[in-house]
């Protein structure tokens, strides 16, 4: 089913997520549309990663509704949703080259009797070229910089040819060249109609990255066009609040 541009890709209503007794998300409601890049900003512990994991079906919410591509998060068809976690989560000593990791993006759609064919190789090659990592395809993943590792993870997600892309702080700790390469890739995917949800704790250039910006601190504090949200000061106020009170919450 090819939803038209602008249709709802992800619908979240009154989402509540708990870790034990700690409240990670407290009544979050918003929609993500096809062909839209939605940025999520918020301080550490504001529930950004929790929100993405809930949509990816990695966490079970305490209550509320999540509809992903018209289905429950765990009933989304294999390969339809691509999730890019923070790079620290992976085992970079695993015996795999850059190519091998990006090729994994094709696995969810392949049945065991299906050969890894020309269309799969083309998808991997295109994804590697899009993030400017094709020349390093034979390099072992332990020999990459942080920015290169991030690009490999994004390439794996692109090679999957998903219908929804979730990115968890892909710009954290990467060089300016990587950030620009990732921004171009994400923008071109969005222009082709892909819905993208991405967390960041960086307010610089949000206008170039996103169509809308959501300020999260367990609740939705602001949601709108990036310039308006930045001007409203909703994010700076919670950042200062978190700073002065120094409270620590679970991410």
């Amino acid at each position: 089913m090819n939803a038209p541009g602008g249709a709802v890709a992800v619908r979240i209503e009154h989402l509540i997520v708990r870790y034990g007794r700690a409240l990670a998300l407290d009544g979050v409601t918003f929609d993500l549309h096809f062909g839209e890049a939605l940025g999520i900003v918020g301080p550490n512990g504001s529930g950004k990663s929790t929100l993405l994991k809930s949509i990816a079906g990695l966490l079970t919410p305490a209550s509320g509704e999540i509809s992903v591509l018209g289905a429950q998060p765990r009933d989304v068809p294999p390969g339809a949703l691509a999730y890019v976690p923070q790079i620290e989560a992976a085992d970079w000593s695993f015996p795999a080259t850059v190519w091998d990791v990006v090729a994994m993006g094709r696995f969810p759609r392949l049945h065991f009797w299906q050969h890894f064919g020309i269309s799969d190789r083309d998808a991997v090659k295109e994804a590697l070229q899009a993030v400017k990592m094709y020349e390093l395809r034979d390099r072992h993943i332990s020999e990459l910089s942080g920015g290169q590792q991030q690009r490999v993870f994004v390439a794996r997600a692109i090679a999957q040819r998903p219908r929804l892309l979730l990115l968890d702080e892909p710009t954290t700790g990467v060089d300016a060249e990587t950030e620009e390469a990732l921004r171009r890739v994400v923008r071109s995917l969005v222009d082709d109609g892909l819905p993208v949800l991405m967390t960041t704790h960086d307010l610089d250039r949000v206008g170039e990255w996103f169509d809308r910006l959501l300020v999260l601190d367990r609740k939705v504090l602001a949601l709108g066009r990036p310039e308006e949200v930045v001007e409203s000061g909703a994010y700076t106020s919670i950042r200062e609040h978190a700073h002065t009170h120094g409270h620590v919450r679970m991410t």
């Binding site: 294999p78 989560a89 085992d91 994994m104």
Partner: protein
């Protein structure tokens, strides 16, 4: 020259070599997952726990493979459950439950009036005692495990590297983990006969760990692990004939020599090129 072929003259030795080949292949293929997923302690735990199954099977008078296999598979599923729940530390669970299962086995055995079961052969294996029926059992399990690895190859690879993203993109990570643990349990049962409870964990880890030193991609690692595993089991069995030594111990020591050779080769600069 004929003297070197002496071991192959006897039917029991021929059976032992076929068993060694199968065990070397299976253990090192499964060992690739054990090493990359850091499951070696689990392999050790399953091997020890299955001892209780062997003794119970002996007392009840049914095939000890069946007893060991039931206990080993139940143990593996139990580990999977605890691991996925994540409430209790896995190390602690294994440390408590599997030493207890092993102790239960020794306890039951020690109370038997005149036990004909040789404890030594369970602890250190008795590959020379492989019967045609054992060989059939080993063959069936080997085919089953090999077929499962082929069917689940991509899923096992993806979930070994990045289970979280694999799950998010729609792979059935939980099912794959349970299947892997059951395959691991069955591999251990196959290997018990040849190397015994004490040494089976070594055969699961050492060839794959040696291959890990020398390769930088998954499939070459698995192929090299299989070659090193077969070399260890077949070569160790062959050497043990001339050294008049325990076959299980000789197999594991040969695997260990190959492991240190692999480290040597790596530091001489030939490693991670495949």
């Amino acid at each position: 020259m004929d003297a070197l072929l002496v071991p192959f003259q006897y039917a029991f030795m021929q059976r032992a070599f076929v068993a060694a080949l199968a065990v070397g292949l299976l253990c090192s293929i499964m060992g690739t997952y054990v090493v990359l997923r850091k499951l070696s302690f689990i392999g050790d735990g399953i091997a020890h726990a299955s001892f209780a199954g062997i003794v119970i099977a002996y007392i009840r008078g049914f095939d000890y493979y069946v007893g060991a296999a039931i206990i080993a598979v139940l143990t593996a599923l139990g580990i999977g459950f605890v691991h996925r729940r994540g409430n209790i530390s896995l190390d602690t669970t294994i440390g408590v439950l599997f030493t207890a299962a092993f102790a239960l086995g020794v306890f039951l055995m020690s109370r038997l009036k005149n036990y004909a079961v040789d404890l030594q052969s369970f602890l250190f294996g008795d590959i020379l005692g492989v019967s045609p029926k054992d060989l059939l059992f080993i063959g069936i399990l080997s085919l089953l495990i090999a077929a499962t690895v082929v069917v689940l190859f991509r899923g096992l690879l993806y979930t070994s590297f990045d289970p979280v993203v694999a799950k998010a993109s729609g792979l059935h990570v939980g099912t794959i983990e349970y299947v892997l643990l059951v395959m691991l349990a069955l591999t251990i049962i196959v290997a018990l006969q040849s190397v015994g409870i004490i040494l089976v964990a070594a055969l699961l880890v050492t060839p794959a760990a040696a291959a890990y030193q020398l390769t930088k991609r998954f499939t070459p690692m698995m192929v090299l692990a299989a070659l090193l595993g077969i070399t260890s089991t077949v070569g160790g069995l062959y050497l043990s004939y001339f050294l008049r030594s325990s076959s299980g111990a000789t197999i594991v020591l040969l695997a260990t020599v190959l492991f240190f050779l692999a480290i040597g080769v790596k530091y001489l600069g030939f490693g991670r090129s495949a």
